[in-house]
Symmetry: C2
Subunit: 400 residues, 2 copies
């Protein structure tokens, strides 16, 4: 039996507070503007990937959530593999004692611990996990920023999932994309109090894919260029300053304004693109009402109807209580002990001065699930013997 | 009994294809950008106003849709009265033979022939009708453009309802607003083929008022200034050229892009303003699908969820058939004989190559009413003896 080389890692989801929308180079995935995100805890949401290299393998194979997928057809995945193998080959050429992994076939097995149908940012965590795990398998001497340049070519926002905490993706200027990379603005330990609540919103119809949508916006929105040139650069500076100062009201205001503007340029696209629905808009009205005497929470929406609500830990029980009023029947896993530690606050219903009329109470299941999580660390390396997804034969332990 | 002077007129609704949103002067109602509208037929939608001046009256009185309202509290109405009375006083000073009307008290009775709760543009037709009727009562030697300067101070878009056909409101530059006036781009006879279908959309919650909303956008939207400076001037030129050329696809594209952009700057407002709901967006998807092989219809949405669909007459039966598929149970008054003249087309359901999956079929009443109308003429003067709203005593004939 040939020698086995294997790595198993998890990588987090990140939710942008200054949004990425539009590519200046679609094959290298170079964005038209810089962006900034918060990395959410892998305890609630993560991708997990095991990659094994073995001379016994006759072909590269990939399983995603238990289903085998073609590698060749996925140009972005091929690019990530090619780049990391080339880096490994260079190392091997420089150091003859290294195992010859660059030439071996590999088996990749990747799973998300959250429903992919929920429309959460699974491609960010997925590609970050792929590239991070490859870098561990190949023992590449790259820091997370260097690695982000590779992950970016899998899925743009994946580059930001290589760090914990608060992460900027600097758009860069070079044609080869070498300066379009993620950098950490502040680690999760800087602002441990920042939490998030994800509302998984029911949606009758899947919207436009981000890949298609953003290029249609680049092509047809008269307002996008103004956003790129005149709005985002200052907003990035302001957001970084707000994070450094842990100024939640400023952080929240910028987050909400940027979410609004992202959906505004989608609407200014021709034909227009909609990601939010009436439930999403009710959540905006609810958070706006909640903030009327001071900013206590921020909503943000990616390319789908789901809301992510950022807030300091101390406001979360009140927010959950309000959400539960308008969206009865949402599933909730009390993984951060919100209900356990704040039973009265959670059961309180609407706050005293809250105008209940700002939204109707929705039917059961309008919000399917509420996930409570927090800002947290970047990719984690696990022990493949204990946590690996592949069995002795190099096939998924769990097959769908 | 004192001499009676009375005028009775009707004025039409207009629906903008280049939208007005934002004031540079809130008391004179001077806009931040020029706009352009199509005047819709009074046969379907109109305001009707009777105004009588009499020495028997002891005070100015106003009835709107059968309910007496305070004149004093309505600064905009006071402004329209003051301006037209001043013009009458000047005439009387110049010509001693004229009846002395400027000093008499008046009774105003105004009604809309369409439901005000429907969120249609009743303030435009209402103020246009008020000012037009005052001009007839006072026999003011003003053309419609001069009169539009007065009507504008009642409700901005009212200035455009003083003309039939295709009407631009030129924003003007002067501080006193004297050059902020409506001009006719083309009469309704230029493009008699242009029709409209209004979908009265069910809405659970009334949105922000336009008056409040637009000033919040002026204050907080980073994108509005770009729209004002860089988008609208060219769009006005392009729209005027499309109307002159009767180029429907171009007219439609500009109309849809401008509606999208108006709602985009509403969304870029902080906190964001929503006027469209899931039903409105379904109508956009339906029209977009209908246009996939060539532009045959244009949607536009004002500050509410109702859609106005412009299209050449020949496409209207097909459009009605599609709308009836997705929005069962909408009330329809066949006032333009659409169903009578096209029974087969109207009953045909979706066209052959139409992808039915672009929207779910909505529940009964999601669209409450469909109104079929067309581009038509400006205010009409009626015979008060036959059509007046006031009885012999100068009180409304019909009281709610």
């Amino acid at each position: 039996m040939a020698a086995i080389f294997e790595a198993t890692c998890t990588a987090p989801v990140n939710i942008a507070v200054v949004k990425y929308w539009g590519k200046r180079d679609t094959s290298l995935i170079l964005p038209t503007n810089s962006s900034l995100s918060v990395t959410l805890s892998q305890d609630q949401l993560h991708s997990k990937t095991s990659i094994r290299a073995s001379a016994d393998f006759t072909t590269d194979r990939l399983w995603l959530n238990g289903i085998e997928e073609s590698i060749e057809k996925n140009k972005r995945l091929v690019a990530c593999l090619r780049e990391t193998r080339a880096l490994r080959a260079t190392l091997e050429a420089e150091n003859a004692t290294l195992p010859k992994l660059a030439g071996l076939k590999i088996h990749i097995c990747s799973e998300n611990n959250f429903p992919t149908a929920a429309g959460l940012a699974s491609s960010a965590s997925g590609y970050a996990c792929l590239v991070y795990t490859l870098s561990k398998l190949f023992e590449l001497p790259l820091n997370a920023s260097d690695l982000s340049v590779v992950a970016r070519q899998g899925s743009g926002s994946a580059c930001r999932s290589l760090f914990g905490g608060f992460v900027a993706w600097e758009m860069g200027e070079k044609a080869d994309g070498s300066d379009s990379r993620a950098v950490q603005i502040a680690p999760e330990t800087h602002w441990p109090d920042l939490q998030a609540m994800i509302c998984v919103v029911s949606d009758e119809k899947k919207g436009t894919s981000s890949t298609e949508g953003m290029q249609l916006t680049v092509k047809t929105s008269a307002l996008l260029q103004h956003r790129i040139k005149d709005v985002v650069p200052k907003r990035m500076d302001d957001m970084i300053a707000a994070i450094h100062a842990k100024d939640f009201p400023k952080f929240a205001e910028l987050t909400m304004q940027d979410s609004n503007q992202f959906h505004a340029v989608c609407l200014d696209t021709y034909p227009p693109i909609f990601y939010m629905n009436d439930i999403s808009r009710a959540i905006i009205r609810i958070i706006t009402e909640y903030n009327k005497d001071g900013v206590k929470a921020a909503y943000t929406f990616d390319a789908g109807p789901n809301a992510v609500i950022y807030a300091p830990k101390e406001n979360m029980a009140e927010i959950f209580s309000i959400l539960s009023h308008y969206f009865p029947g949402a599933a909730f896993d009390d993984s951060l002990n919100l209900v356990k530690e704040n039973p009265e606050k959670v059961a309180a219903g609407l706050p005293q001065n809250f105008d209940a009329r700002i939204s109707p109470v929705f039917a059961q299941g309008a919000v399917k699930q509420i996930l409570h999580t927090k800002a947290d660390d970047g990719p984690r390396t696990l022990d493949s013997a204990q946590h690996g997804l592949l069995n002795a034969a190099g096939l998924p332990k769990r097959l769908a």
